[in-house]
């Protein structure tokens, strides 16, 4: 394994083969748009009855007022859900999840986290995810499922009352929905920073190689 630095140009094999297939790139960016719309409109909805002692600045919310934010939220949810379901289906059927995200071992995560924090983690072969990536990507898929299900449970606490009960009732489900949003925002920050630190990974998510 080479000990390439971040700025080194990618080697020939890495640039010639497809790192991110077209369907992954398409769904990734659709998800990015949907997620950002859901989060920003969600913040505006949160502001109508805050769970904690703060509100989100109007400048970073979407919808202008509660009614507008709800329209955005319940429109973007279709984009998020349809795209997300398609992503899960294709990911499972093609075996991409298994190939890319497994095995996910604690020792692997520890080793790669240490290497990442000391700047020694190799990014030579972007077709293989390191254990930090595996953990973050598998984790965010699970959080994505939780945010959608908890959202459905507070949208339909009568029709889907079994789901609401699963989350501990309506009031608790609101906190679960908020926590999942916070986890996604946390992921987003780390994800964007890391992508900018390894720009060729960002390029691969745009043009595929």
């Amino acid at each position: 394994m080479s000990s390439m630095t971040l700025s080194e140009p990618s080697t020939a094999p890495a640039s010639s083969k497809v790192i991110q297939p077209g369907w992954v790139r398409t769904m990734h960016w659709i998800n990015a748009v949907a997620m950002i719309m859901m989060i920003m409109s969600g913040w505006q909805i949160y502001n109508a009855a805050p769970l904690f002692d703060f509100r989100f600045s109007h400048a970073i919310t979407l919808g202008g007022w509660l009614g507008g934010a709800l329209l955005w939220h319940f429109a973007a949810m279709w984009l998020l859900m349809v795209n997300g379901l398609a992503y899960l289906t294709v990911g499972l059927i093609t075996g991409r999840f298994r190939k890319k995200l497994l095995p996910l071992t604690p020792s692997g995560v520890l080793t790669d986290t240490r290497l990442a924090l000391t700047g020694k983690l190799s990014h030579a072969d972007l077709t293989k995810y390191n254990y930090v990536q595996k953990l973050l990507y598998a984790g965010i898929i699970l959080v994505g499922i939780v945010v959608v299900l908890s959202g459905l449970s507070i949208w339909k606490p009568v029709q889907l009352q079994w789901l609401t009960a699963l989350f501990g009732g309506y009031d608790v489900a609101r906190y679960v929905h908020f926590a999942a949003m916070a986890a996604i925002v946390g992921f987003l920050v780390i994800h964007v920073i890391l992508a900018l630190l390894v720009p060729k990974s960002l390029r691969a998510m745009i043009i595929g190689r």
């Binding site: 805050p50 970073i60 979407l62 202008g64 009614g67 507008g68 319940f74 507070i154 009568v158 029709q159």
Partner: protein, 259 residues
Amino acid sequence: MLRIKSLLIPGVDKKLLVKDATKLMPELSRRRFIAGGASLGALTLLTGCDVSDSFSAESMLTRISKFNDGVQAAIFNPNAMAPTFSEKDIRRPFPFNAYYTEDEAPNIEGKDWKLEVSGLVQNRKSWTLDELYKLPEVKQITRHICVEGWSAIGSWSGTPLRDFLKLVGADTSAKYVWFRCAEDYTSPLDMPTALHPQTQMTFKFDDKILPRAYGYPMKIRVPTKLGFKNPKYVVSMEVTNDYKGGYWEDQGYNSFSGS
């Protein structure tokens, strides 16, 4: 939440309550909410179109909201009951909530009040409070969920709306029951929800005659809908096939708003 809760307690800090309510109220120009929402420029970046000229964004959102009405009507199960709770779960005092302060709430003289029944019904007579109080009474303790997100459990007693609709010979194949209130608040209720066993013409809260704050003399309690679909101070109900809109529905809240 804490701040909001304390503001909602009747008689507490009305000035702040009004301020808060004003914040939640739509801007004068309905159209502006889209432009306001996109002030960050995010939408411009994402779609590459100028959203200040947001006619298409607004009409797209309105169309999706109508689509969502259809989806919700399709998944509405007339046999699914809203969860019920016990006496100890009741929130006391129950929050007062409206787009005006409690002082400004309609102050109705019970003996002068009449419920007007119109539209596609066989018997269009108006009902006095005494006549309505004689109808069979059902009590239910359910969760009131506000469109804002907060919720509170309350106890409401009255007569099932579907029994009353039968009594007045309503055409239950009509699409809506449209309610009008003393302060000119309006709201349409889809017929399947109007016929839901828990949908109630409410005359009592917590075993006592409905106080002014909660909609005296009559409220429509719909535990399968968000709070704003539960009109208070109701003065008329009309069975109709026309969609007549409502106070909040016209401003952009989703019309079905089912729970």
